[in-house]
Subunit: 335 residues, 2 copies
């Protein structure tokens, strides 16, 4: 099945580049509201599913035992930019469990976001694992192990009890079989499993509705989603797309990006769940797609609709600030 | 016409992302040796055609008048990383013409390459136009104007005599009609014209062979191509793909990237000219494609063939240095 062209990048009066994509929206019962492309094909959710991977932190009681609030829970679901607040919060999470960054298995990297990187270059000799965009998730993993009495060493491995537990949760939520066959290694070294985009959307839907989940899981899921919506800066950072999406309608939109062009989102009040993947892995395409799909569910003329539509079709400027072209979703997303 | 999938990105045992592309190889007579995708569709060459845009610098006599050697000519054809040598050479070019960076119309930006950006952040308050990846091209433009007695002010504009001259050269080389209809504004504010990929490849072929060109243009073209092959660091920079490609077989490969997934290359000794475009604008796809096409024209088992093949199919590591997947060209490029 050919995935349709969902995003175009123009220059002058011509289309310069084209992105193909797959997209799905499901309702509270998991029924398809909108679909484009091969939504049954396996997609690695990458960081888009961090809220699912953070469930043990809450379900185990670790989050309560260590006194974590919305910021810590949002950071556990985050791909953050490595800004000072992100780094300090991850360090504080580890300290609460009596640990430090030496236990983190995510590796270190400079911020992927230019303004933050410039500041880091001026203040750091080199980045640590706390600066890794996944340090909140990994700190949550360590805290979960410490609280349950599991040895955190090797927590990123396929066979570690924590990853086994996460695998069972992901299978439960997405309805997909997860094994070594559809497992890859993520940027931060933990397992990532390819699941059909429709399964990913239905899984996120369950996080919002609690439908079919044990009460403890339903409560933990809603608490994590609410924490992200309450503290969107801690899910991403300054000028980041996830943060901006959630700021469009505070408390009404949950959104999380993943590497290689994945984006998931929720409108919890409407029981709607969204998932998109750019065939080629382009973040700019995934961002435009998710914004366009979200916009459709706000009233035309509302501030939310206007802002989201603007995030799905926006001008591009060059080094002199001149308008040179536009990134815009195609009519495929309005069918 | 659907463009074929030319590059796949794997993770674990699965394909995570797919790039479609168009590619063409022509011989010294401009005949098609290989073709994939819609090579008659208009493509903005962007920075890939800088060697064409640098022709007036040599043809006008400016390069000789100002004593420019291979490094200056390579920099005039470059999308450099803003390393100190690049910046100093652009400044020296302007100084030779009695000008300074205040005349540049390219705008300023931090280096797009992380290691250079970190060094810039530690040593600069902010970047200037000399740090712009196009500063060599723009310095060449200014030098051309100064030598011919043209006022360089407004040299980036569609109607400036220099851009009119470049438009005529590009039309001559590519065989395409260039007008406001297929004109866009490039990142550095000069006009860029969409031309069929096949015209771009044939135009580059003429640079190498001189076929059908006035002697002065043929000589200027060969001098620029030779300068780039002699000083590949000045065409891009440390660890950059253009530089590495030209270092594979010194004096035998010319290669130049352009934004939004364009790559052009020459094997002058074989009279072969190459052009590729990733449909989605991805640089990683264009790089793999051009390396694969070049590899086919070196003997299997040779060091050049091995290195180029490795640049067309290579592993990807995560933050911990673990192998997580592969970027690889598909069989489409070996049809």
């Amino acid at each position: 099945m050919e995935n349709p062209i969902t995003v175009e990048v123009t220059r002058g009066q011509l289309v310069e580049s084209r992105h193909r994509g797959l997209a799905i929206v499901v309702d509270a019962e998991g029924k398809i509201v909108f679909s484009a492309g091969d939504v049954d094909a396996g997609v690695f959710p990458r960081s888009a599913c961090k809220a699912m991977q953070a469930l043990p932190l809450v379900e185990s009681g670790a989050a309560d035992a260590y006194g974590f609030g919305n910021r810590e829970l949002a950071l556990a679901c985050a791909s953050h930019s490595g800004e000072p607040e992100h780094v300090a919060t991850a360090a504080a999470m580890l300290k609460a469990a009596g640990r430090d960054e030496s236990v983190l298995e995510c590796g270190a990297h400079w911020s992927s976001h230019q303004a933050v990187l410039i500041e880091q270059a001026r203040t750091l000799d080199k980045p640590t694992a706390l600066h890794n965009n996944c340090s909140g998730k990994h700190s949550g993993f360590v805290c979960t192990c410490c609280h349950t009495g599991e040895d955190p060493r090797g927590y990123a491995g396929f066979d570690h009890p924590l990853q086994q537990a996460i695998r069972a949760i992901m299978a439960d939520l997405t309805g997909a079989v997860l094994s070594r066959d559809n497992c890859g290694t993520d940027g931060c070294s933990i397992p990532t499993y390819a699941v059909p985009l429709i399964g990913l959307a239905r899984g996120f839907g369950k996080l919002a509705t609690g439908s079919g989940l044990e009460p403890i899981r339903a409560a933990a899921a809603r608490r994590l989603i609410n924490a992200c919506m309450a503290e969107p800066f801690y899910v991403a950072g300054t000028r980041r797309f996830c943060t901006k999406l959630m700021q469009v309608a505070p408390g009404k939109i949950f959104a999380k990006t993943g590497a290689e062009g994945v984006f998931c989102a929720l409108l919890p009040d409407k029981g709607l769940s969204f998932a998109v993947k750019a065939e080629d892995g382009a973040t700019r395409a995934a961002e435009a797609m998710i914004a366009a799909l979200l916009a459709r569910h706000f009233d035309e003329g509302s501030a939310e609709h206007t802002t989201l539509t603007g995030m799905s079709r926006h001008g591009m400027s060059n080094w002199n600030g001149l308008h040179v072209g536009t990134i815009r979703v195609t009519d495929v997303l309005f069918a």
